[in-house]
Symmetry: C2
Subunit: 491 residues, 2 copies
């Protein structure tokens, strides 16, 4: 290995260690830290993040990157990924980074207050400021559309035009599905379900799908999330509510994220090649386990006896079809975070289309509420009755997080492609689920997606795993089959 490459690897390992420390500081803050530690923690995190950033944009690292001579494919991937990371980081002036951080904090506080008062008006100037800064940010990069560099931060290499095409086709498939979906009675899965029993059930399920004590932790948090401190140090969090069993699906969702991080080739540890390749591919993993596995009939053939055992007397032996149907019920609701699989995509597409126009300037912030209401009616058949249920619903824009939303829906799309491919290539997959065997899917995902980490581009990863470019058709076919099954059951 060339001396420059060796020296470069050492520097990148140091940056990776700082990032791992930052992950732990963040996890601990949300899961274990006594509240008195918050002020000091903000300083600790800022220092660690700053040191990692300084090291990434350091001239010495750029020189090593020029001098390094790759010998293997992994070396070439390392140099390619690092060059992109460094280039992106070096183009953004420190002042703009600070302005974005400050505007994001101020926007978040304004959003909290506006939400409390259920009135978006005082928040809109903060959103305007965030958009202005994000436009300045976008101008630092080559682009066909001002949204391109924003999307690229989360989905490297994807252009706005492609996202618009994929999500446009998705929307056209989803709108009629919402209308076609039958009303399903959800009483059978309505609580109360004692939280201790839910916890035991979810622990049992997660162990069966692939969690073990050697490399995983499971804790409670206010909002479920996954944090990977290292390839063999994966932390999931869940939240339980008596009213329903969402904690189970949230647990499977975070498990999907964790399994991805845990499955990366250990040789990529402490390097920029560790971790997920993009937000959409990451989300494809969480959604696959949450929905394709966790809401599927085969899974419940295995899990239903456990559910009955967890809540004695609550479910009759013949309730399984009704339970599965209820877990898959399509409902027009104004709330994105609790939306079903069919309407979820439309919630996202609405946000994506609006933020595209906002960034481009073809939609004024002053007209955002009206535009939101119109799209809600068109796509979901819903009247937005309050700002809280409308433009104040999500935190993302308030923190200047723009370009992130489409990756949620793109993740579902990729999950649909992966599911179609996995079920085609692995005969007996669902029979295995029914017997509690999830190893074949785990192994397949590891081989096709996980182990590659960031060594391929997102588009290459998707092509490698699914055999083609990103395509909404398999996902739509999967949803149509669910809606059809549901309609058959109801009739």
């Amino acid at each position: 290995m060339s001396d420059a490459l060796t020296a470069l690897r050492a520097r990148l390992a140091e940056i990776a260690d700082l990032r791992s420390a930052a992950v732990l500081l963040g996890w601990d803050q949300l899961v274990k830290m006594p509240p008195g530690g918050a002020e000091a923690r903000a300083e600790q995190r800022a220092t660690i993040e700053r040191l990692a950033h300084e090291r990434l944009v350091d001239d010495g690292l750029a020189e090593l990157l020029d001098a390094a001579e790759p010998e293997t494919d992994a070396d070439r991937a390392l140099l390619r990924v690092t060059r992109r990371d460094v280039d992106k980081a070096r183009r953004v002036p420190g002042e703009l980074v600070s302005d974005l951080a400050r505007a994001g904090s101020a926007g978040y506080e304004a959003w909290l207050a506006a939400r409390e008062a259920d009135d978006a008006a005082p928040y809109l100037p903060f959103l305007e400021r965030n958009l202005e800064l994000r436009r300045r940010y976008a101008e630092l990069f080559e682009r066909e559309h001002p949204y391109d560099p924003l999307l690229d931060d989360f989905e490297r290499g994807m252009r706005t035009a492609e996202a618009r095409d994929v999500l446009g086709r998705l929307r056209e498939g989803l709108v009629p599905l919402v209308e076609a979906a039958p009303h399903v009675d959800r009483t059978v899965i309505e609580g109360p379900f004692p939280i201790a029993a839910q916890r035991t059930l979810v622990d049992r399920v997660l162990r069966q799908v692939g969690v073990d004590d050697r490399a995983w932790r499971l804790d409670d948090a206010v909002h479920p999330f996954q944090a990977s401190v290292a390839i063999d140090d994966i932390r999931l969090t869940t939240r339980f509510k008596e009213e329903g069993l969402e904690g189970l699906f949230a647990g499977l969702h975070e498990f999907g994220h964790g399994l991805y991080e845990h499955g990366v080739d250990p040789a990529y540890g402490r390097s920029p090649l560790a971790g997920g390749v993009s937000m959409a591919v990451h989300e494809s993993q969480s959604r696959l386990w949450e929905n394709m596995v966790g809401r599927g009939d085969a899974f419940w053939r295995w899990c239903f006896p456990l559910l009955r055992e967890a809540f004695p007397g609550r479910f009759a032996e013949g309730d399984r079809p009704a339970v599965v149907a209820a877990f898959n019920a399509v409902r027009r609701s104004p709330v994105r975070v609790s939306a079903d699989e069919v309407t979820y995509g439309l919630h996202i597409i609405l946000r994506f289309e609006l933020e595209l126009e906002l960034v481009k300037g073809s939609l004024a912030v002053a007209d955002l509420r009206d535009a939101w209401a119109a799209k809600s009616r068109d796509y979901l058949g819903i009247d937005v009755t309050s700002d809280r249920m409308g433009v104040l619903q999500d935190v993302h824009w308030s923190e200047a997080l723009i370009g992130y939303f489409p990756t949620y829906a793109l993740g579902n799309v990729v999950a649909g492609q992966l599911w179609a491919r996995a079920t085609a290539e692995l005969p007996g997959l669902e029979e295995g689920f029914a017997a509690g065997d999830f190893a074949p899917l785990r192994d397949w995902l590891r081989e096709r997606v996980h182990r590659h980490g960031r060594s391929m581009t997102p588009a290459e990863t998707i092509a490698h795993a699914t055999g083609g470019p990103i395509d909404p058709e398999p996902y739509l076919a999967y949803l149509r089959a669910k809606v059809d099954a549901s309609a058959a059951l109801m009739s």
Copy 2:
């Protein structure tokens, strides 16, 4: 404030943040981390520690230290402490630091194997290597005795001659006390005590003495310890065993450490003035709460009803004197970590005297076992029957940790002085304990010791708090009174 001082403070705050991250990485490793994370964690910790060290020995920091113009006493203390820290760190060549780390790791592994086999012989060459490196380390500093710089690492400013004088006088007082102490029946405090009930009791006790959910955490660990991530983020760990109630005393011990770190003036946060001033002063705080408070009759007047409640039917109403006597029983035992207050000091003095001779070269490693056996007989009246109960008992030397042992006994000595002073200055202190009121002692310690952090030297801190230099007499008087009370009860 001078520009140089402002810039210096910013750099020191960054180092403090790195150290806090290192504390969290260490705490998490022992308390929460899945075992699979161990390898990556070692790298993460090494990187963070190295970055902190690099920043401390950086030329730019040394220049700021020269240029900074102090305005307040706190500024002057900051410069003085930082100069000493920087000077010590800059004198040690990186190669020696690595050699010590490697030798410490190898020594630890050799110690584990030797302990397993109960034969010190294969371990002794590793100890010899550690001693050789520590001698080379000591040569980098001015010294009257080769042990001076080693002791100074833990007890800044104390010379070997002073430690030898204080611990010599302590030994002369302790040896006859061991002989005078009556045999006390300990059956009354022998288990089994269900662990869940112990946990509830200790949680209750710690909340009463001063733990709250805002700034503290309490977890289990294999070896109890305290970790302060920030002044308002203090983490205690305890360990419970069914056989006895040691977990309670360990909890009070770690509470004493935590209360010290938590009581430092918040203005010293993110600076080298935060934290305890020396190991002995730190240990004085833990021992004060564990022994002077926790083994005292007044404490048990408050706590005994809780003990009875925790273990229904286990203690009779009149058992309190017997319980307190048992908690204070003096026993000749070869094991330091479970030793009582009287014999504990002699265990330490034995180690201190031996490591002094080993460092000086007047005792050969080959003769260590014999020397250990001789001192055990002389001081404790004990025959050492195995290496495991003798020279292989403690981990410290195996990791090249030399100069640390005396601070345990010096901590007890300082605790004795603080206790004499506090009881003299705070009439009704023990009546308060009996009513569950520990605030007066907390406030007094905060004012006299805690809030000063590292702003005074250890010797100044002791003088400020106790009114004089370090002196074993008050501690011996306290122990004599305990032994007399015990003898009176037994007769």
